[in-house]
């Protein structure tokens, strides 16, 4: 019978997952490439890229911007199926953004490898993104209302904003040097 969450298997995958995380935030490209399955079937859906096969994944690793990889990990879950397969999921916070990551690990003769991974961020409205950029995350209870207000403003402003104004039209001046 298939053993779910054999403690030894879970412990081993957890250790490898931590190593993977360390390699990631330090952008240790060689280590990261080693963690992924070296196969055309390997897959990594990133936040802005869909990578099919080890070659595409490796190329991405080598050219990725190295700044801002730090992240705070939350809620790591490991489910091991027998002694050769595990699914590792987690959430993370990077700056003000809330992400999640899912990985499928398989144990090959040469060791555990990530065979498939998917990284994404929670959907953020314009309001949340703009507030985060301006350095003041919106209070949770107002995020929807603020977004709705901005969308209403956009609807109200739509025909105004589509109206081209002559270049020479300036706003009424009041500033006096």
């Amino acid at each position: 019978m298939l053993m779910i969450n054999d403690p030894d298997v879970v412990r081993e995958v957890a250790r490898l997952h931590e190593e993977y995380e360390t390699a990631l935030v330090n952008n240790d490209v060689e280590a990261l490439i080693r963690f992924f399955w070296d196969s055309p079937h390997a897959l990594r859906f990133g936040v802005r890229e869909n990578l099919y096969g080890a070659a595409e994944i490796d190329a991405f690793r080598k050219t990725r911007p190295v700044l801002g990889l730090d992240r705070k990990i939350l809620n790591v879950r490991i489910v091991a199926f027998g002694s050769e397969c595990a699914v590792v999921t987690m959430e993370f916070l990077r700056q003000h953004h809330h992400g999640r990551q899912s990985q499928v690990w398989w144990k090959f003769p040469e060791g555990w490898k990530v065979v498939s991974a998917h990284v994404s961020f929670m959907y953020e409205t314009y309001a949340e993104q703009a507030a985060a950029l301006a350095g003041f995350p919106l209070p949770q209870q107002y995020t929807n209302a603020v977004q709705q207000n901005i969308e209403r403003s956009a609807r109200i402003a739509e025909s105004l904003l589509k109206t081209p104004l002559p270049d020479e039209t300036v706003s009424a001046a009041r500033f006096e040097p």
């Binding site: 209070p139 209403r152 109200i156 025909s159 009041r174």
Partner: protein, 470 residues
């Protein structure tokens, strides 16, 4: 029962009585304080009542009269101000909990000082929407101000306390501010006269701003003569006003009886102003008929003007309060903060586009004023809504009430035109208002038209028929 014979109803006759020593300023103030004590527990207009200082100031006025001096055209007239105006010794709360923690103001706001210099006596500060961002005066911190004509309904806003206090006869004159309709809307909902003068014509020094490109100071009264009198004494350049408008003073009271024969009066006639319930157009038709005004005008690009005012207000308001939005959002009125937060996040190019459009719209309306002198329009798309009512019908759609009650007022304050909100309603009915709109700096014209409507019995601040005694 508050009736038109309630002392304090008419500032002009009250001042005459005080100046001719038929009534002391002290008795005038005592009467106002009694009116407030009787009516305010029901209406919730006042956030502070200045018993001691009002009586002390009344004493001063009485002593000056006894010494043969003339304290001015508003001698002994009690007045009250929206609580965003500085009153020396009182903390200016601007409807907020945040400003309530600030120290008392050191000096009176310019408009307050000018009324006092004319002999008037400030008796208190009045409720408003937090930081003036609303049309209903349903303030979570200080409670909703009730409409004296129907206690289940709002007074309008954001100068709701100012309109309701005058409507209920507590004081004959109050001050308010109008950024998008905050004088005209509550004047219409409460059935009193309200004047939003030309942008910059009354100093804003000492008033908490909301959206500086659009903020105006103005007044409420139950007669056009009182409204004109208050304007006459408050207008004029002030080096402390951030705008530093230096338009010459032009007095209006003496020309009120001149009639309107020389003015080309038109009523708005385009679909934009048909978006409200049909009944709101009846007062406009009634006024036009009484004034024999058969002309019709359409307001070019009026919807865009409203949109631009909406965007400028949101951006400037959001920016003004950004430091508090960042650090203490929990202290804002929850019904207001979401709009301030949204305003602080709108794209800058929207704002700039709106500001540039303001110049264009001003030029278009200047052109329009070559063919007419006065434009009549409804003030609101509906009469006073119920306290707590979340939506109103605009063009057949249910839209949020707070941002939308001002759709008819916003396009005109956007370019700073002088406007009187004239109450036109049947005694005992829910009040409605007519905007009497004139070209920039023609307060004399709009007040003259309002006076004519008053004389013809069309524009009238009928006292509420309610028993407002607690």
């Amino acid at each position: 029962m508050i009736t038109s014979s309630t002392p304090g109803y008419d500032a002009s006759s009250l001042a005459q009585a005080v100046r001719s020593r038929r009534l002391s300023a002290k008795d005038s103030v005592i009467k106002a304080l009694e009116n407030i004590r009787r009516s305010d527990p029901v209406l919730n207009c006042f956030t502070s009542v200045l018993h001691e200082s009002a009586l002390a100031n009344a004493d001063l006025v009485d002593r000056r009269i006894a010494a043969g001096e003339d304290p001015g055209p508003l001698a002994g007239v009690p007045f009250a101000v929206k609580n965003l105006f500085d009153i020396a010794g009182v903390t200016t709360i601007a409807g907020s909990k945040i400003h309530a923690q600030r120290p008392p103001a050191l000096e009176d706001a310019a408009a307050v000082a000018r009324l006092k210099n004319s002999g008037a006596i400030v008796v208190g500060a009045l409720n408003m929407d937090e930081y003036a961002y609303g049309f209903t005066t349903e303030n979570t911190h200080y409670g909703a101000t009730r409409n004296p004509h129907d206690l289940e309904r709002v007074a309008g806003g954001s100068s709701g306390g100012s309109a309701a206090a005058v409507a209920a006869g507590m004081v004959p004159i109050t001050l308010g501010s109008d950024t998008n309709g905050s004088i005209r809307v509550p004047a219409a909902f409460c059935g009193v006269f309200g004047l939003k003068p030309t942008y910059g014509r009354i100093s804003r020094a000492g008033a908490v701003l909301f959206a500086e490109s659009l903020d105006h100071v103005g007044s409420f009264a139950r007669s056009v003569r009182d409204l004109a009198l208050s304007f006459d004494v408050m207008q004029g350049a002030d080096p402390l006003d951030p705008l530093r408008s230096n338009h010459p003073r032009e007095f209006t009271v003496s020309s009120l009886p001149k009639g309107t024969g020389d003015l080309r009066i038109a009523m708005v006639d385009d679909p934009y102003f048909q978006q409200g319930i049909p009944e709101v157009f009846e007062p406009v038709q009634q006024a036009a008929k009484a004034l024999a005004a058969s002309r019709r005008v359409t307001i070019p690009e009026v919807e865009k003007a409203r949109a631009a005012a909406y965007i400028i207000t949101a951006c400037e308001g959001g920016n003004l309060h950004l430091p508090d939005l960042r650090t203490r959002p929990q202290d804002f009125d929850p019904v207001v903060i979401e709009r301030f937060l949204a305003g602080s996040l709108l794209p800058a190019s929207w704002y700039q586009h709106a500001q540039r459009f303001r110049s264009i719209f001003r030029d278009r309306i200047r052109e329009l004023f070559r063919t007419v002198d006065i434009i009549l329009a409804p003030v609101t798309p509906c009469p006073a809504i119920r306290v707590g009512q979340p939506t109103i019908q605009i063009g057949g759609n249910d839209l949020p009430a707070r941002p939308n009650i001002g759709i008819f007022t916003q396009p005109f304050s956007f370019i700073g035109l002088p406007i009187v909100s004239v109450p036109v309603f049947a005694k005992g009915a829910l009040p409605l208002g007519v905007q009497v709109i004139g070209p920039a700096y023609k307060e004399e014209w709009v007040l003259r038209v309002a006076a004519q409507l008053e004389r013809l019995g069309v524009g009238r601040a009928h006292p509420p028929t309610l028993e407002t005694s607690a």
